[in-house]
């Protein structure tokens, strides 16, 4: 296991000396991640994601419980761990603001004692895949957010870490930048060299990158499963969207359909159907009753899935 935690807990004391209050940020997180995995770490704001990540990377000491990352104790062996993991915080930078990106990389390589040959190889690859040639000589402070994040991810990978921890890496990025970053991370992870642990509010990140999802809420692990399994268990209905050639009344009485919505003055209808129904049969049945111009099947979105999960975690 590259990450192994057992009953990780973290309390904070808040308030003034007279009115101290104990707040539990992380109550009980037990998590095992095998090398090569890509795990999406989800949860609403304040669920304890960042606190957990800080405990895994040696920034915070757990109140109780234990953590082992790359076989090391994150706090006691912080510096050794620093050589073996890469961390990207979406909201803070590990680059040097006034240095050109290239020199920031150079310093980062020196700090991690990356051998020259490996450094060159690694850098060249990242520069090419992330299309950074045009701004390598630009000081970091003049980079756009998207460019900077590409730089952050490159820096975090230069020393060939075994584990890459990303805390909201796509926050604030435009769609094209997000997509570029996702496909890069996905390619890096697919080669099996680096394990990914990713927190995000951007669920397409998870969809693109992670096979496994860990959802935490109120400091506890709520769900820890394969994304596909979760879909089947929680997501429920798919939707068949049919575009008609002529307006029609809502199609009633179709086998397996649980909800019908009529849009565009009856020219489009959305038919929600359960897991037991085949999309092909439903399309055939609809085609017998009305003339179809086009059909699409919407998979349940991961947003719906997560919404269901969060809702189920709260006491009714």
């Amino acid at each position: 296991m590259i990450i192994e935690t057992d009953g990780l807990r973290r309390d904070f004391l808040v308030g003034t000396r007279l009115r101290r209050r104990r707040v539990v940020a992380v109550r009980d997180v037990t998590l095992n991640v095998a090398p090569g995995e890509a795990v999406g770490f989800l949860g609403p704001n304040g669920a304890g994601k960042s606190t957990t990540i800080k405990m895994l990377t040696g920034v915070l000491v757990p109140t109780s419980g234990s953590a082992s990352v790359c076989g090391l104790d994150p706090v006691r062996e912080r510096r050794e761990l620093g050589k073996r993991i890469g961390v990207v915080f979406g909201q803070r930078s590990q680059l040097w603001w006034d240095l050109p990106l290239e020199e920031s990389f150079d310093l980062h390589g020196a700090i991690h004692k990356v051998p020259a040959a490996r450094y060159e190889e690694r850098l060249e690859e990242c520069v090419e895949l992330l299309d950074m040639t045009s701004f390598l000589r630009t000081p970091v402070r003049q980079l756009s957010l998207g460019q900077r994040m590409r730089g952050e991810v490159t820096a975090a990978l230069l020393h060939s870490p075994e584990l890459l921890v990303l805390d909201e890496p796509t926050i604030g990025l435009d769609l094209a930048s997000k997509e570029r970053l996702r496909s890069f991370l996905s390619a890096v992870n697919a080669r099996g060299e680096v394990t990914l642990l990713l927190t995000t509010h951007d669920l397409p990140d998870v969809e693109r990158l992670c096979r496994r999802v860990v959802v935490i809420d109120h400091g506890r692990v709520l769900v820890d499963d394969e994304l596909s399994t979760l879909r089947r268990r929680f997501a429920g209905n798919r939707t068949l969207v049919v575009e008609l050639t002529a307006p029609a009344e809502a199609l009633a009485g179709l086998t397996g359909v649980v909800d019908v919505q009529v849009e565009a003055q009856g020219m489009r209808q959305r038919l929600a159907f359960g897991a037991g129904t085949s999309a092909a049969e439903l399309i055939a049945e609809v085609a017998r009753r009305v003339e179809l111009r086009d059909v699409t099947v919407d998979e349940p979105s991961i947003e719906d899935l997560v919404r269901t999960l969060y809702a189920s975690s709260r006491p009714a």
Binding site: F12, G58, V59, L60, R79, G82, R92, L107, A110, I111
Partner: protein, 265 residues
Amino acid sequence: MADRVYQRIVASRLRGRLAYPTSFVLDVLGQAIGQMIELIVILVLFTTVSSLGGFRPDEVMLIYGMASIAFGLAHVTAGQVEQLPEYIRTGEFDVMLLRPLNTLAQVLTADVELRRLGRLLVGACVMAWAVGHVDVEWTPLHVLIAVLAPIFGALILGSIWVATNAISFWLVDAREFANAFTYGSNFSTAYPITMFGPWLRGFMCFAVPSAFVAYFPTLALLDRPDPLGLPEALRYASPLAAAAAILVAGLIWRSGIRHYQGTGS
């Protein structure tokens, strides 16, 4: 071992600073003038009195020069620690904890403020002048003391910078508190301690060992018995005082880090 890394970090900081030569020159000048104000105060005092705490003008200049060089060196090397509250607030300190490097060394090298050279410059000039004027017999031991005293002094003052600014790990921003000691030491080390009351003297000798920066080494150079009758060994004790100061500062820093890892945000 990792010193080459810090060399490169510092070199990169320097390049950034020297990119603006005019502001560099003005900064240095500004600091030098700041340091000279203290000097002018002393000179003005001497227009009305002939000795300060039993020391002649040239002797006070020797103390002042030695103290200023020590302060300048400490300011250049350890002064960056005063940015600690800023690094904690912005989360930059978290990033430092993620790097496989010592945290204190990272804070100290996080930036290089060349303007701090200004104070060093003034100290060196005054020291040079004083050495030419004081009545000191330049034996090898005295030369050694004159050369080493500012270095041990810088270690003592640097430790004070680190120790007092590390309070920021517990309090949100302890900069003003720290300033009282750090910039305050610039004042307290520059005069013969005979000028101060007994309570303050005790504090400067033993609690915050600033008397070891320039006062005691100067007694050694002048070959003069301590007007206060303190043991003669103290005048050679600056290395010990420096070692103790470094130890205490290191311990405070370490427990500060542990407290920080226990607090977080």
